[in-house]
């Protein structure tokens, strides 16, 4: 093997090592940067103000208030076929909206308050279809408190 061939091979080897190091450093940068960027994105999301959610929250509160008011007024009729089915359907719609908003909001505050409403609406739905009036009154009071909390959250 000639000296020039050996020199060429050494040069190629050094170039390969250098390229690999560049790639490696780039990979490290990308990896650590991704981790930091991911954390930053998550942190940003966790701290996001809720202003953007307030129109949806306002609409949800209005719908929930209307539905629970109507079911409260109709509680004595809830065990009767069509009436009970209509009440449940109305509550299902509101409950679905609350759960959806709890999933999609980026605000911790909104998520918590809407999740509380969803949890209590699920109990409320049961309470109006069961002959347990003490339970119904307790849960209705809780739902009202949830709605108040949501109104205050958005400054209403």
């Amino acid at each position: 093997m000639s000296a020039s061939t050996t020199s060429t091979h050494r040069w190629q080897l050094l170039l390969g090592v250098a390229l690999t190091m560049v790639v490696a450093l780039g990979s490290a940068f990308v990896l650590t940067g991704a981790a930091r960027g991911g954390a930053s994105a998550v942190q940003s999301a966790a701290s996001q103000p809720l202003g953007g959610d307030c129109p949806d929250i306002g609409s949800l509160v209005a719908a929930a208030s209307t539905t629970t008011a109507s079911t409260t007024a109709s509680t004595t009729a809830t065990t009767h076929g069509a009436s009970a089915a209509a009440l449940r359907a109305g509550l299902d719609t509101v409950l679905s909206r609350a759960r959806g908003l709890a999933r999609t909001t980026a605000s911790d505050d909104a998520r918590e308050s809407v999740q509380n409403l969803a949890d209590d609406l699920a109990a409320y739905r049961l309470s109006v279809t069961r002959p347990a009036t003490d339970r119904h009154a307790d849960i209705a009071a809780t739902v009202r408190a949830d709605l108040t909390a949501l109104r205050r959250l958005c400054g209403h």
């Binding site: 080897l13 930053s40 966790a46 918590e112 909390a149």
Partner: protein, 486 residues
């Protein structure tokens, strides 16, 4: 002479350099994760622009939380901090990020919005802090796994005003986590709240007490709106509503070895769902509710609990959809003097205003519900059991009518000091060596972490893998065999 560079050798060289390069890349990343084992917070000479060393610690826990990575422990010096602590990174299963007071330090976080917010980060341990007077929940967890909250105090969260209330620990979409040994008290919503699919968690050995909204009777010691969790060995008492509650979403929970007592009180505040006494201060409201309440949930075990002196039915199951088997097991519990006597706000007592009985199963929840090996008693005449729409004043009458509880006992459990909340058993207790040790969830240790012991003075009447487990949350420890299993 160097060997010739054949294609094979060139391939080996290329592979070697690639491996070396990848190793460099990995070590570059690992350097961050392999940083100092400890970060320090608080004390003289602190600076949030430093590196958090012992010599120059960070001033705030929040700063440490921003930079801490897997495997690091944040040690906090004594003091009262006003930080809201957000961990910015996750730990790993083998290398969590840990926050704890330095050795001997007493650390309080006060006045922040939350004390700790663990949102979208996992494998975080928080141990030994007092978090008080936060404007929102003292501890807030969202979308996290492998969290451990241990030996903390969460006190005075929020305000008892509509729209300003807060939980002690609010746990949303938390999985595979442990909440243990915490004191959660005097918060303006429920003490510990699990929701939105939080599952596979262990809620053990906590005390949750004196939690109250103040304007609506609704604060619970431990509130379960999520399925598949273990709730064991907790003490829940003097809450505004029930001690432990499973509500829609809270299916298939294992509720064992808890002590739920005196969730009962009186307030002159005007609660929106007030239960006024019929005599005495009729303008005030009786507070409290069940010891353990299950509403509209299925598939849970309520086993080996001690339930005493709550306002409403001690252990309650209602609201299961008609025709749906509840899948509930009640076994090995001691339930005594529930709904027996309530304060009238004028120094006297009245009959309690709502549901009655040491154990109650409503009409739609009977199907698929199994009750056995419980011990019940009332020290005053009243409703002992409710099955469907019928109340029974004695266990015998209930057994005859329902076919349930064939091994139950009606007797004084012989506790050492119920007035002092000491529910350990005295010698000769009918609870000793008489439980079903194979009841679902019945643990091998009692609520105090002591082993099951065969009392030589008592003939074993229990069944299952051990015939000498005791009913209730505490295992009698005979003087001659204390600490020994047989």
């Amino acid at each position: 002479m160097a060997p010739p560079h054949t294609p094979a050798r060139r391939a080996v060289l290329a592979l070697s350099t690639l491996v070396a390069g990848l190793g460099l890349a990995v070590s570059s990343v690992g350097a961050a994760a392999g940083a100092a084992a400890y970060l320090y917070v608080g004390g003289g000479g602190c600076s949030d622009t430093g590196a958090g060393t012992a010599a120059v610690p960070f001033c705030t826990i929040a700063k440490a939380a921003k930079v801490a990575v897997a495997g690091q422990t944040v040690l906090v010096s004594s003091g009262t901090y006003t930080d809201e602590v957000f961990p910015w990174h996750s730990g790993t299963a083998g290398s969590p990020i840990t926050f704890q007071p330095a050795a001997g330090a007493v650390v309080t976080i006060a006045g922040a919005k939350h004390g700790f917010t663990i949102s979208n980060q996992s494998w975080i341990t928080v141990s030994g802090f007092t978090v008080r007077d936060t404007t929102s929940n003292a501890f807030y967890v969202f979308n996290a796994t492998g969290v451990r909250l241990s030996n903390n105090t969460a006190r005075g969260s929020g305000s008892p005003v509509s729209g300003a209330t807060a939980y002690g620990m609010y746990l949303n979409s938390m999985t595979g986590s442990v909440v243990t040994g915490n004191l959660v008290t005097d918060n303006s919503a429920s003490g510990i709240y699990l929701t939105n699919g939080s599952t596979g968690n262990q809620i053990t050995g906590n005390e949750s007490s004196w939690n109250a909204y103040g304007y609506v009777r609704n604060a619970v010691g431990i509130d379960l709106r999520a399925p598949g969790n273990l709730v064991s060995g907790n003490r829940v008492h003097d809450n505004e509503d029930s001690g432990i509650q499973s509500y829609p979403g809270g299916d298939r929970n294992t509720i064992v070895d808890n002590v739920s007592y005196h969730n009962k009180g009186f307030t002159t505040a005007a609660l929106t769902n007030c239960s006024p006494p019929p005599t005495g201060n009729t303008a005030g409201c009786i507070t409290g509710d069940h010891g353990i309440d299950d509403f509209g949930v299925t598939g849970s075990s309520v086993v080996g609990n001690t339930v005493y002196d709550n306002v409403a039915a001690g252990i309650n199951l209602e609201g299961v959809a008609s025709g749906t088997p509840s899948g509930f097991t009640f076994a090995d519990n001691i339930s005594v003097d529930n709904a027996a006597s309530c304060p009238n706000g004028a120094g006297g007592t009245v009959k309690c205003p709502r549901t009655r009985g040491d154990i109650r199963v409503d009409a739609t929840s009977q199907l698929g519900t199994r009750l056995d090996y419980d011990l019940v008693n009332l020290s005053v005449s009243g409703t002992m059991m409710v099955w469907g729409s019928t109340s029974y004043t004695s266990l015998a009458a209930f057994q005859a009518a329902s076919g349930q509880e064939s091994h139950a006992r009606q007797a004084d459990p012989r506790w050492n000091g119920p007035a002092q909340a000491d529910f350990s058993l005295r010698a000769g207790s009918p609870a000793i060596d008489s439980a079903d040790s194979s009841a679902p969830g019945q643990p091998a240790l009692d609520a105090a972490g002591r082993p099951r012991v065969d009392d030589p003075s008592t003939t074993n009447s229990g069944v299952g893998v051990r015939s000498y487990d005791d009913r209730g949350a505490f295992e009698y420890q005979p003087p001659t065999t204390r600490g020994a299993t047989s």
